[in-house]
Amino acid sequence: MLEALGIAALVLAAISAAFLFALVGRRMSLAREERRRAEMERRLKPLALALTEDDQIDLPVLPAAELAVLADVLGRYSRRVTGDARERIAGYFAGTEALARELHALDDRRAWRRATAAYRLGDMACRDAGPPLVARLSDRDADVRASSARSLGQLRFEDAASPLVLVLVEETVPRAIAFRALLDIGGAALPELRRLAGDESADLRAAAVELIGWLGDAADAELLVAAMEDSSAEVRARAAASLGRLAETEGAAALTRALGDRIYFVRLHAARALGQVGERDAVEQLLRQAREDRFEAARAAAEAVALIDPDALLAAAGLPDAGPHLHEAADLLRV
């Protein structure tokens, strides 16, 4: 019995030692690989930098491992530059095996590989990747959808505007990622957003109207004023916020009317927007709202008066019926 236990202990000790050796070996091999890669990167950086700046580069024939490192470095650079530098990076990747490999990997059965491919395709900056990435917005895996949305923004792929608004509304991609992607697409997304502002879905209209506030310009004031009459309170509230963001005086009358909206958060956003627009004609109504409305809307109204007419706020705060919100705004103003 003792002899058997001794043998078992010896076997276990031998296995542990072998395991330890394997771990140390693996660690050393990873460190060696890391050093080799860092060295390759150091050597290839001048070429990568030249590729971002020069149109005529004689590309040396590189082994596959070095091409992969070069692709990684260029991918990192493409996240940091815009304009012709980014176009040159796209030009480098166009038609390469690296691009074809990542496009193919979008159909891989492993979700992590699809997500990685979607991410890398954004860094490669080739707009050819746009349509397959749009298709991946409905992937069954959340990471693949998020990576695809992020990359569509990186590619400034304007045809992705509607699908991105849809995933934003359906919340199948985190709001921050989908919203950021739409902002990255920028003004090129506006025609699609203007069309969606008239969609039959109130959720789509609301999202479109909000984004127009971030990406639009004075020409969108008319559309936003019309949205202030929408049957959906969410659309009216976001239209008010967008008019404030664009600081469009054209919307002042509609915003002042919205102070009488039956939904409090529409009144809240209208008050804030009037403050941003600086509409002096609305001061009396804002003062009334600051005294009588429910908490959030009243507070927004008092803050708006502080922006438009500080003297009127201080005078109103001195009256016996001023209420807490005018007092608070006046105190903040004095500070």
């Binding site: 930098l49 650079y77 996240r79 940091r80 530059v81 815009t82 304009g83 012709d84 530098a85």
Partner: protein, 128 residues
């Protein structure tokens, strides 16, 4: 400062080594000498030591931010005249006003166009 080969010296500070690579490459090609710092503290030290003709500073650096560095440069009579261009991410655009209040001369949004950067550097130096 103008380097011995008559190239104006530009100090670039960013904690992102890739940005440092890209900015340095572009500015050197445009005929400037470049000194780099990977933190705000290092940027303040190099500015005092080298008296660069201009500084390009990232807004979000660990320790001293680009705003802090700009303020420190303005407070020191030796560095008060160094023009500053801030590099700022889109999310920090609301803070641009703070940058101008701190004494910055211009700002550029990240991701940036290297060509635009060199045009801005040239314009700011030309204004001085």
């Amino acid at each position: 400062m103008v380097t011995p080969d008559a190239a104006p010296l530009v100090l670039v500070a960013d904690d992102d080594p890739d940005i440092l690579d890209l900015v340095r490459y572009r500015l050197e090609r445009s005929g400037y000498a470049v000194a780099t710092a990977d933190s705000g503290t290092e940027a303040v030290r190099l500015a005092g030591e080298l008296s660069p003709a201009l500084a390009v500073l990232d807004v979000m650096m660990p320790g001293l931010t680009g705003f802090d560095v700009t303020r420190r440069l303005r407070e020191d009579p030796h560095t008060a005249g160094i023009p500053v261009i801030l590099l700022t991410a889109r999310a920090q655009e609301a803070d641009v006003q703070e940058g101008f209040a701190a004494g910055a001369d211009d700002y550029l949004r990240k991701p940036f166009s290297p060509r635009e950067l060199s045009a801005r550097v040239q314009a700011v130096l030309g204004r001085r």
